[in-house]
């Protein structure tokens, strides 16, 4: 054996039945691998060997079809021998061993994640929702309302006549819109334990708190705008979309850093959802403008709403830093006021 003097490499041969190492020399001859030592002498087809991948650290272990294996702790000698024999490495192995490829992969990952965040996840969430029956929205909304009633709300103390007046004003405003663009909805009044607020629950429930009604002095135009905004959340199924988007973001974040800590993995999900939520608020504001215009009100009335909300908050102007905006679920007030003011002027 070994007359066709090719390059050699020293290795340990294990037969797969005993743990004893047999020193051997390896040589490639044609399409055969020659394994030769004091206690072992055999030859196997080269293509039947499962070759190890090149790494900078760690020994090389090649597997033969019958369970025997070849170990070589001198990785450099092994790699030189494999190279001399003319073996080709897979693209993955070459990429893993090159910083240039690694950097290129990182850039690609960032681009893919950004594209996925901007277009992929919202598109997938919307597509998933078209397949989801609206009964699911209703049951989610019911559960949410029950939980909110238990912890955050009390029955409304507004006079029934006032409740009916507000609901009537909103119904007239909505009636002016094309019927197919108006989702099924009902308005419920609650006394809040968490200050003035209004929100939309999946399935069609619009919750309006006594505190908010009082804060805007029951101004009909503003309340139509606020309810129009919440109607926008319903029309775009924002609540359900948020659930789907959080699930998608959570899956991706878990894939990237979840191995290390699920706590850290929740941070990008939280920041990412806040970004989606700000987009949803902008969509809902656009709907508020539509409803206000349909009812014959100027969208600029909403500027007074933000002023009324800010006046009581903490005495000062609500100016927010970049960090605060990044983690906020709503766009900055200044931006939203500008939007409504412009919409009022554009009329």
């Amino acid at each position: 054996m070994g007359e066709s003097a090719g390059p050699l490499v020293a290795a340990d041969y294990f037969d797969g039945r005993s743990a004893r190492a047999h020193p051997v020399r390896l040589q490639a001859a044609g399409d055969r691998l020659l394994i030769d030592g004091p206690t072992v002498s055999r030859s196997v087809a080269l293509h039947e060997v499962r070759w190890p991948e090149r790494t900078r650290h760690g020994p090389r272990v090649a597997h033969l079809a019958d369970g025997a294996s070849l170990h070589c702790s001198d990785s450099a000698a092994w790699d030189a021998w494999r190279h001399a024999v003319g073996s080709r490495e897979s693209l993955v192995v070459r990429a893993q061993q090159s910083w240039r490829w690694t950097l290129a992969s990182m850039v690609l990952i960032v681009l893919l994640l950004a594209a996925g965040y901007l277009w992929g996840v919202p598109w997938a969430a919307r597509a998933a929702l078209t397949m989801l029956p609206t009964e699911v929205d209703e049951s989610v909304g019911e559960t949410a309302l029950a939980a909110i009633d238990e912890r955050l709300m009390r029955p409304s103390e507004l006079p029934l006549a006032q409740q009916q007046r507000i609901a009537g004003a909103f119904a007239r405003a909505v009636a002016a819109l094309p019927a197919h663009e108006v989702p099924v909805h009902r308005i419920v009044f609650r006394k809040s334990r968490i200050g003035p607020n209004a929100f939309a629950l999946p399935g069609g429930t619009l919750v309006l708190t006594d505190e908010l009604v009082k804060r805007v002095s029951a101004d009909e135009a503003i309340l139509v705008g606020v309810l129009g905004h919440e109607l926008g959340h319903l029309r775009h199924r924002h609540g359900m979309r948020a659930l789907a988007q959080v699930a998608a973001l959570g899956t991706v974040a878990g894939l990237v850093v979840g191995d290390f800590s699920s706590l850290l993995a929740s941070v990008p999900v939280w920041l990412g959802q806040a970004g989606y939520s700000r987009d949803a608020e902008r969509e809902a504001d656009a709907e508020a403008v539509r409803v206000l215009r349909a009812a014959g009100f100027s969208p600029a009335v909403m500027v007074a709403f933000f002023e009324a909300m800010a006046r009581h908050d903490d005495g000062g102007a609500r100016e927010r830093s970049g960090l605060e905006i990044a983690i906020a679920s709503h766009p900055a007030d200044a931006e939203r006021m500008r939007f409504f003011r412009d919409a009022g002027a554009a009329r």
């Binding site: 294990f14 037969d15 797969g16 039945r17 005993s18 743990a19 004893r20 190492a21 190890p52 991948e53 790494t55 900078r56 650290h57 760690g58 020994p59 272990v61 597997h63 369970g67 025997a68 294996s69 170990h71 702790s73 993955v92 990429a95 893993q96 061993q97 090159s98 910083w99 490829w101 690694t102 992969s105 990182m106 690609l108 990952i109 893919l112 994640l113 559960t143 029950a146 894939l255 990237v256 850093v257 191995d259 290390f260 800590s261 706590l263 850290l264 903490d314 005495g315 000062g316 830093s321 605060e324």
Partner: protein, 397 residues
């Protein structure tokens, strides 16, 4: 092959001579920067293929970690076939979807799904152990997992009792939004009982695993008592409490300083922002202390207990993993992973693997050269391995 004893070739040593001890050290030779490159390429391929590449990525990762784990100078190796593993993942994904859909459908369907899961879970876990060990080798010998199916059920089924009680109670409640008083009481009792039995369950699980590892003629046993597990759990609770107290003191000091500072400064305008920043910092400190102290404490104490009590008459493992170095490493890993937005994670994984692996050693009364494989173990289902992966259960070293 036909040798019945673990002493190797008959008559190799005179019977009266005291057996010589062979100490095999564990070394880990992997590098963070190399694993970083493997990880990035794996991540890219997994994202591009929408997850289909995941089993291949996992095999590459395991082969890197195993190949760099040297026991007595010889590496471990992983032989799992990604294609088999992919089938396992698909099966598990389908089961997971069916399970979560059943829960949404109705409480009774949820209960049925949970019982079915409990019924096949022990078999899956055993399968996972078989797959993992049958595909791991050292010096050309494959490991085996020899736990029986009956033992798997005996070990794991008690863990499902609290879950079944809760899901069954939920199915019995007519209106989940207005649960009756007995429901809340039952929840409390079940949680307390589950907490009290958690160390016992953990002990049963670990005993089932460590009693059934085999290599050649060797089979390990776990001699740690249930009481020693309770001790580790209690000490961990104590460590968490101490950390909590420390954080409490720091929080109070910062709060007092904050009050003094704001009354001295008198700048009413910036105080809400300052308060928010202080609040965030404190929240993170608390979270980190709750995560940072108990986990490495439990890891080090449990690893030492498990592995210094695993062995047989011919070989014995040892583990001296110390808490403070592991705590320091965990702190460093957390900070750097957070600062680099996750990019440090492969370095962190390699560093903690090194610390944990290199704390372990084996002392054998037999020359490892004389080990003879007796039987090839059943390979097990890759679905089991996938299940263990998805639900976070693994062999633990």
């Amino acid at each position: 092959m036909s040798q019945p004893s673990w002493i190797g070739p008959a008559g190799a040593e005179p019977a009266f001579e005291a057996p010589r001890e062979h100490r095999l050290d564990f070394r880990f030779t992997g590098s963070g920067s190399e694993y970083f490159r493997i990880w990035i390429v794996n991540l890219l391929l997994t994202i591009v293929t929408l997850g289909v590449y995941y089993p291949w990525a996992k095999v590459r990762r395991l082969r890197y970690f195993y190949g760099n784990t040297l026991v007595g100078g010889q590496p471990l190796d992983f032989h799992g076939n990604p294609m088999t593993m992919l089938r396992g993942y698909v099966l598990i994904a389908v089961m997971g979807v069916l399970y979560s859909v059943a829960g949404r459908f109705s409480a009774v369907a949820g209960l049925v799904a949970f019982i079915i899961l409990a019924a096949i879970w022990p078999a899956l876990l055993r399968s996972s152990m078989q797959f993992r060990l049958a595909n791991t080798s050292w010096r050309g010998l494959r490991f085996r997992f020899v736990g029986s199916l009956g033992d798997a059920y005996a070990a794991f089924l008690p863990a499902f009792v609290p879950g079944i009680a809760i899901v069954a109670a939920l199915a019995a409640v007519s209106d989940p939004e207005q649960p009756p008083a007995w429901y809340a009481a039952l929840m409390g009792i079940v949680s307390l009982v589950a907490l009290a039995f958690a160390p016992w369950l953990w002990w049963k699980l670990k005993k089932y695993q460590h009693d059934h590892y085999a290599l050649g003629p060797w089979r390990t046993r776990l001699t740690a008592s249930c009481g020693s597990f309770y001790l580790v759990f209690l000490k961990t609770a104590g460590a968490a409490l101490a950390a909590g107290l420390l954080v409490g003191v720091v929080v109070s000091v910062v709060a007092v300083l904050g009050i003094v500072g704001s009354s001295l400064g008198g700048s009413g305008r910036s105080s809400p922002l300052v308060a928010m920043v202080i609040g965030l910092v404190l929240a993170f400190t608390t979270l980190l202390a709750m995560q940072l102290v108990p986990r490495p404490y439990f890891t080090s104490r449990m690893q030492n207990l498990l592995w210094s009590r695993t062995g047989n008459e011919a070989m014995r493992f040892g583990s001296q993993l110390r808490f403070w170095p592991l705590f320091g490493l965990t702190l460093k890993n957390w900070l750097l992973v957070a600062l680099t937005l996750g990019l440090y994670w492969p370095f962190a994984a390699v560093a903690s693997q090194r610390m944990r692996i290199e704390a372990v050693s084996v002392t054998a009364l037999v020359d490892p050269d004389d080990l003879i494989d007796q039987a090839r173990g059943a390979e097990g289902e890759a679905a089991g391995d996938a299940a263990g992966d998805l639900f976070g259960l693994d062999i633990g070293l």
